[in-house]
Amino acid sequence: MSAAAELWLLMLACGGATYLWRGLGVLLSGRLNPKSAVFEWVSCVAYALVAGLIARIIVAPSGLMAQTALTDRLLTCVVAFIAYRLSRRNMFVGLLSGVLFFVAATHVRSVFL
């Protein structure tokens, strides 16, 4: 199988694996208590998984991001979060500040270091 066909197959399998939970939710509604301990566990697991994903992308990225400096990526997270808090939780201010800082830091690094 070609690499492209395999990626399409993988994508469809991931779609099915995601839909599994959606469909089960419809079929089981009214029969399961959404406040049960199992669902607290599920939400903890999903939360920890996404935290792990983002940690890995920021600390050890692949592709384009691998060409940038770890220090810049970490500082960008701090800058974006501070801007987000200072702007009373405005996501756009946070993201824009972070991205501008990141571009500036990467540029300065390429010119002077």
Binding site: L7, C14, S29, C44, A46, L49, G52, P61, G63
Partner: protein
């Protein structure tokens, strides 16, 4: 409210902050997809078929690192397990009113559920007539999905056209979006524990078993956070 009015009300409310915030996340996703060599059709199909940005990112990340097929499907599935309690609570609220809807219609609506649509619907349904909820949800979701697909395409076209420096900024957009969301919303002890443990387990496992690092982060990090919360609840 007629069904047409409810549909438009949902669409109108989505066409603001919800569509823009999702747009920012998917703009970055499109740019990462372009960098990873996805075709536009694959990007759009993945958005429609998975319709969960964390899962889509897990898939892209693990495929880029040549993780095994099943390991990737397991990790994506684990990241999507939160949809079960979400549809479980949402679908019963959309039942009722003058129209009786079949099971297949609910199975279809379940595909449109996302963190954003669920959170808004749960809040707005309380003050809404039961009959209006279904169309409101469809209108709101359609705009969210449409805007996400549009911005993903824009991101994918931009990544090839922009100068290198701007490309770096675009590629960092989605990880940054999740970082700010996760850290910004982590206000309980359980959430902070899940965040810290998930990140730590992922980074440690990344060195030893990269294909299983995300699955392990969710399973181990999540269980530690959950168990710790449980021990606090029991002690009162």
């Amino acid at each position: 409210m007629t069904s047409g009015q409810a549909l438009r009300a949902g669409a109108r409310e989505a066409l603001g902050v919800p569509a823009a915030v999702l747009g920012a996340g998917f703009l970055g996703y499109g740019s990462l997809a372009g960098d990873a060599g996805y075709s536009i059709w694959l990007t759009l199909s993945a958005t429609l078929a998975i319709w969960a940005l964390p899962g889509q990112l897990v898939l892209m990340e693990m495929h880029a690192r040549e993780a095994a097929f099943l390991a990737t499907v397991f990790a994506v599935s684990l990241s999507a397990a939160r949809f079960l309690p979400m549809t479980l609570t949402l679908m019963p609220m959309m039942r009722g009113g003058s129209r009786v809807r079949g099971l297949w219609q609910f199975l279809f609506a379940a595909q449109m559920v996302s963190m954003t649509t669920w959170a808004v619907a749960m809040r707005r349904f309380e003050e809404m007539d039961v009959g209006a909820r279904w169309n409101y949800f469809l209108g709101f979701s359609a705009i969210c999905i449409g805007s996400s697909m549009l911005f993903a395409v824009i991101g994918q076209l931009l990544i090839g056209a922009l100068p290198p420096l701007a490309r770096y900024g675009l590629a960092l957009l989605t990880p940054l979006y999740f970082f700010v969301t996760l850290v910004g919303e982590a206000r309980t002890r359980t959430a902070i524990t899940a965040l810290v443990c998930g990140a730590a387990v992922a980074l440690v496992l990344h060195v030893y078993a990269p294909a299983w690092s995300l699955f392990g982060a969710g399973f181990i990090g999540g269980t530690i956070a959950w168990a710790w919360q449980g021990s606090h609840v029991r002690r009162g």
